[in-house]
């Protein structure tokens, strides 16, 4: 089904577009719903975007639920391992 669930947050960072050009990303949207490309009925989809740059300024990920959880765990582990002073 289309879950209709979308969780959004502001972000500050950069992403690399398929064309090889880096761009600043300001918005993130996460949702668990039908993927466009991944071979699964539902995936955790993550869009990192710069809405000011138009619809195409988007890094899109479609990850199975287990894969998404592993990425979350990896990110969390990396953040936890970094000295607090570097994260301010």
């Amino acid at each position: 089904m289309c879950t209709y669930i979308t969780v959004k947050t502001d972000i500050d960072g950069s992403a690399k577009a398929p064309g090889g050009k880096w761009f600043r990303v300001t918005d993130a949207a996460a949702y668990f719903d039908h993927p466009v490309h991944a071979m699964a009925e539902h995936t955790l989809n993550l869009d990192l975007t710069d809405p000011a740059g138009g619809p195409g300024q988007r890094i899109a990920l479609e990850l199975t639920a287990a894969s998404a959880q592993r990425v979350i765990d990896a990110i969390q582990e990396a953040l936890d391992a970094a000295p607090a002073a570097l994260k301010e």
Binding site: M1, C2, Y4, H34, A40, G54
Partner: protein, 247 residues
């Protein structure tokens, strides 16, 4: 029946003054015919949806699919447009109804139109097809596994979707419902609830639920594709539209 057809992009005059892109496919014959408005699913105005539009033309109908995201993301890749609109809160129901109204009027004004127009949608479009048939003068509606026609949508998230239970007594067209028995949204219980409500309100409808099929069984490019269910479903659609949209 000829299998010649023409498919092209047209622009509709939206009731809000917007120029709404749409994909139009028309049969190559001069026979009078009905029309079909195809509502694309939440993932967008994509190739799979346009293939369905052409299939309806091959079946002998004028068919059109308005790009529900053309206001926010004209010319964008369908998946990028879908992501943008989703993040912005989705397509409001009122705007959907208006766009289907304009698309139906466009079909009725075509040279060989017989005046009858049906609507069809899959997934989110299934719910929107039922919505349109409750609000507009249409001659037939097909709901392919639309979630939240009944049932309770998630709250506290940007896409503010409501169920259609309060509107169902106003359904103005016969409804064909095609569902997967293994689907969870809509679940067999939610389909049964819809069946009961329509029966209680004397609304003509035919429902078919396919064993072994889950959600999105018509989607030929997805792992959910179910050949048997999709083939039977297309035959049901052909029969249903021939009965209600025929000359």
């Amino acid at each position: 029946m000829s299998d010649s057809l023409t498919a092209t992009t047209v622009h509709l005059a939206g009731e809000d003054g917007s120029r709404v892109e749409a994909y139009l496919a028309t049969p190559g014959s001069d026979e009078p015919r009905g029309g079909v408005v195809v509502i694309h699913h939440l993932p967008g105005y994509d190739r799979a949806t346009k293939e369905m539009v052409r299939r309806f033309a091959e079946l002998g109908y004028d068919a059109i699919c308005p790009n529900l995201y053309s206001r926010e993301a004209p010319g964008a890749d369908p998946s990028d447009a879908a992501a943008l609109v989703r993040a912005a809160g989705g397509v409001p129901d009122e705007r959907l109804v208006s766009d289907v109204k304009v698309a139906a009027a466009y079909l009725r004004a075509l040279p060989h139109a017989n005046g009858k127009v049906g609507v069809i949608g899959h997934c989110s479009g299934g719910r929107q097809a039922v919505l349109a048939a409750c609000r507009l003068d249409l001659d037939a509606a097909v709901d392919c596994y639309g979630a939240f026609v009944t049932g309770t949508p998630p709250a506290e998230h940007p896409l503010n979707v409501t169920n259609l239970v309060p509107l169902l007594p106003q359904l103005r067209a016969p409804l064909l419902g095609l569902f997967g028995a293994e689907d969870k949204f809509p679940s067999p219980e939610q389909v049964a609830e819809l069946d009961e409500i329509l029966t209680a309100n004397d609304k003509p409808h035919q429902f078919f639920s396919y064993d072994g099929a889950g959600h999105a069984f018509f989607a030929v490019d997805r792992p959910s594709y179910n050949v048997a269910a999709a083939n039977d479903g297309w035959e049901r659609i052909e029969t249903f539209y021939a009965e209600h949209l025929g000359a």
